[in-house]
Assembly symmetry: C2
Homo-oligomer: 361 residues x 2
C-alpha cells in the first residue's frame, strides 16, 4: 500500500466529470439529502429506497425498479432472468460490453450464460450484425452510449430497426444504460421514450450523476420481483444502502437537466482538439459528453507530461492514458460540472502543450 | 410502499443493539471518522480501504483481508475457492447456516456447491457429527456464535477437537465470524487465537459493531488475492465503499472492548427473565450478548403487546417476535450499547407486563 500522494492532489481545476471524488463532500451531500424522519432502508425495504426506486422507474417509463449496489449485478441478473424464461443460455452483446471486458467472465462462470459477441471492438453494432446471429437467443444487450468506443450512439432510426428485429424474433431487449442520462440529449427524447422498447433497463448513479456508487434495474413488476432473490444470491441485498441511495437521489436532481450543456462543451472542445496534430477525436463529433482521444504518443510519456502539466498549471486534464498499440495512446474524456471552470480553448491549449512535451520524452 | 410510521419511532430507550439505526447519526459518524487527506477508495484500492483491511487482518492474525459489501458474498467466495482447490463441490455446515437459510440457494445455484448439513436445527454441531460426514469434503463452516440457536458457542475444547479432526482429514476450516466480536469474551482469548486454526474467516461490521453495512474476508495472501476476481464477478467490487469502511472503522474502535460488558448484561438479564412463567431463555445462560426467548404466546398477540408497551413506556424491547410453532414465539435479543440506559430489572419487569398483556389477547 503506497503512502504516495496523488500527483493531482493539488489541482484546482478538472476537465473530467464533476471534479475529484471527495468523500467528505459526498458524505455531506448525502446527509443534506436526508429528509426529516427518513429512516434507514433495511434489506431493501423502507420508504427512502422504495420511493426512489419508484421515482426512477417512472422516469424510465417502467412499472418497477430495484436499487442494487452495482451494474455488474444488475445486468447479470437481468440476462439470467431472460435466459431462464426463454430456456436458453444464449445472449448477444457487443464485443466491448462491460460483461465481456470487466466482469471476469461472471456471466459464464456464475450463470452459465453463453454470449455471442456482436460487431468488432471499434464500431457500433448494426442490424446486419443482428441478422447474422445464431438463434435461439434469450436476449440482446444494447449499451447506449457505448463507452469503449468513445460514447458512440446509433441513430434513432438504426436503433429502432434493431429493436424491431429483436421483437420480431421474440428476443428480449436489455439496455445497458450506465450512461443513459448522457445519451438523452443526442436523441432529444425523454428517458422513458428511449427505454420504451427495452424489456429491462440498467442505469448507474455514479458516472454522469456523480453518486458514490449504486445502480438500478427497471422493468415490469413481475420481472423486478423475480430479480430480488437473485440480488440476495449475489450478496447485494445489503442491510442498508442509504449512503448510495441518498447520493444517487442528490446526483439525479443536480445533473439530470445538465447533460445537453456537458455535451455542448464536449462538441466545442472536440472541434478545437481536432486541429491538433497527432491527435484524433473518437467520435469526431461527440454524441454525448464523452469522447476518446487517440494520440500518437507513448502512453507513459503522455502520463508523465500530464502530471508535470498538472503540477505546473493546477489543471488535471485526465487521469491515465492507456496504450492502444505501441506509440498510440487512448485518453477518455467525460465532461461534467467541473469543466465549466475550464474554457474549451484553454483546455485545447493545454493539450497542445501536452503533445509538445510528450513528444520530447 | 406504506407511509406508516414505525410503532417504535417515538421510543427513547432500547433493549437491543446500539439503538435505532439512524442514518443521520451514522453518516455523521462516517464523516467524523474521515481523516484529513483521506481519499475515496476506487474499486478496492486506496489507503483507507487497504489500511483497514490490513488492520483487521492483523487483529484476526491473518496475512491479508478484503473488504466486501456483504457476508453473503464473502462466504460463497471462500467456499468456492476451497472447492476449486480441492476439486470437489462438497462442503459441510450446520443446518441453520446463513448460506442454508438466508441466501436463496446461492451456493448451489451460482457456484454449484453441494452442502452437507450437520446436526439439527436446535443444537450445536459436534465432533461426532463431523465423523459421520461423507468424504471427500473441501471445507467445513463453523459459525461462532450460532445465531439461529441463540448465539451458542461450543467449548474451546470441543471446538479444538472438531478443528483437529478437519485438519487430520485435509479439510479446510472456514469461520463464519459474523459475530466473532461477540464470541471473544466467552473464550477469553484474542481474536487471533480464536481464528488461528481457521483457513479463512469472515467477519461482519454491522451487527455487534454497529456499522452501516459491510464485511471482510481474511486468510493467507494467496487466498485473498484469489478472492478478488470472485468479488468482481459477484458485483461487489464497487467503485467506492468508503461510507461502509469509515463506519466499520468507527464501530470497531467504539465497541471492540465492550463485548464482555454487553455479555455480562445479557447474563444478568437472562437470570431475571428465567424467573418468568411461560418463558424460556436459550441458551439458559447466554454465552454472548445474544439470547433467544421462547415464549408460550401467540406471536401476533406478543407483537401487539410489545407495540402497546412501547407506546406507553417509550421502551422498545424487541422488533418482531416470530412463530416457532402455533402458540410458541421466538424473540431474539442482542444487547449492545443501548441497554446501558435500561437496567436489567426494569427490562425484566417490562417482559413480565408483556407476558401478562399478551395472555389477555
Amino acid at each position: 500500500m503506497a503512502q504516495s500522494k496523488s500527483p493531482f492532489a493539488d489541482c484546482t481545476r478538472f476537465l473530467n466529470g464533476h471534479g475529484p471524488r471527495d468523500p467528505a463532500e459526498k458524505l455531506r451531500e448525502a446527509l443534506a439529502e436526508l429528509r426529516p424522519q427518513e429512516a434507514a432502508d433495511i434489506y431493501g425495504e423502507g420508504e427512502m429506497i422504495e420511493g426512489f426506486e419508484q421515482d426512477v422507474a417512472s422516469l424510465l417509463g417502467k412499472e418497477a425498479a430495484v436499487f442494487m449496489p452495482s451494474g455488474t449485478m444488475a445486468q447479470q441478473i437481468a440476462l439470467r432472468l431472460w435466459c431462464d424464461q426463454a430456456q436458453t443460455k444464449r445472449v448477444a452483446m457487443h464485443a466491448t460490453s462491460h460483461l465481456q471486458l470487466h466482469e471476469q467472465g461472471a456471466m459464464q462462470v456464475l450463470h452459465g450464460l453463453e454470449p455471442q459477441l456482436l460487431a468488432d471492438s471499434k464500431r457500433l453494432m448494426t442490424r446486419s450484425d443482428l441478422e447474422a446471429l445464431q438463434l435461439p437467443l434469450a436476449a440482446i444487450l444494447w449499451e447506449l452510449p457505448q463507452r469503449e468506443i468513445g460514447g458512440q450512439l446509433p441513430s434513432w432510426e438504426a436503433l429502432e430497426s434493431e429493436l424491431l428485429w429483436a421483437k420480431d424474433h421474440g428476443i428480449r431487449c436489455h439496455l445497458d444504460g450506465a450512461r443513459l442520462w448522457e445519451a438523452a440529449p443526442f436523441y432529444d427524447k425523454s428517458h422513458a421514450d428511449i427505454c420504451a422498447a427495452f424489456d429491462s433497463v440498467y442505469v448507474s448513479f455514479y458516472k454522469g450523476l456523480g453518486g458514490i456508487a449504486g445502480a438500478l434495474l427497471a422493468g415490469e413488476s413481475d420481472f423486478i420481483e423475480a430479480s430480488r432473490p437473485w440480488l440476495r444470491r449475489h450478496g447485494g441485498n445489503l442491510i442498508s444502502m442509504y449512503p448510495y441511495v441518498l447520493s444517487a437521489r442528490a446526483g439525479l436532481a443536480r445533473h439530470i437537466e445538465n447533460f445537453s450543456q456537458y455535451r455542448n462543451k464536449a462538441v466545442e472542445l472536440a472541434a478545437q482538439l481536432a486541429l491538433l496534430e497527432d491527435l484524433r477525436v473518437v467520435p469526431a463529433q461527440p454524441q454525448t459528453m464523452m469522447m476518446h482521444l487517440h494520440i500518437q504518443r507513448d502512453s507513459e510519456a503522455l502520463n508523465a507530461a500530464n502530471e508535470r502539466l498538472a503540477a505546473r498549471t493546477g489543471v488535471m486534464l485526465f487521469g491515465k492514458a492507456r496504450e492502444l498499440t505501441p506509440g498510440l495512446a487512448k485518453i477518455e474524456l467525460s465532461l461534467g460540472q467541473a469543466c465549466s471552470a475550464l474554457p474549451a480553448h484553454e483546455a485545447a491549449s493545454l493539450f497542445a502543450q501536452l503533445l509538445a512535451e510528450s513528444a520530447e520524452g
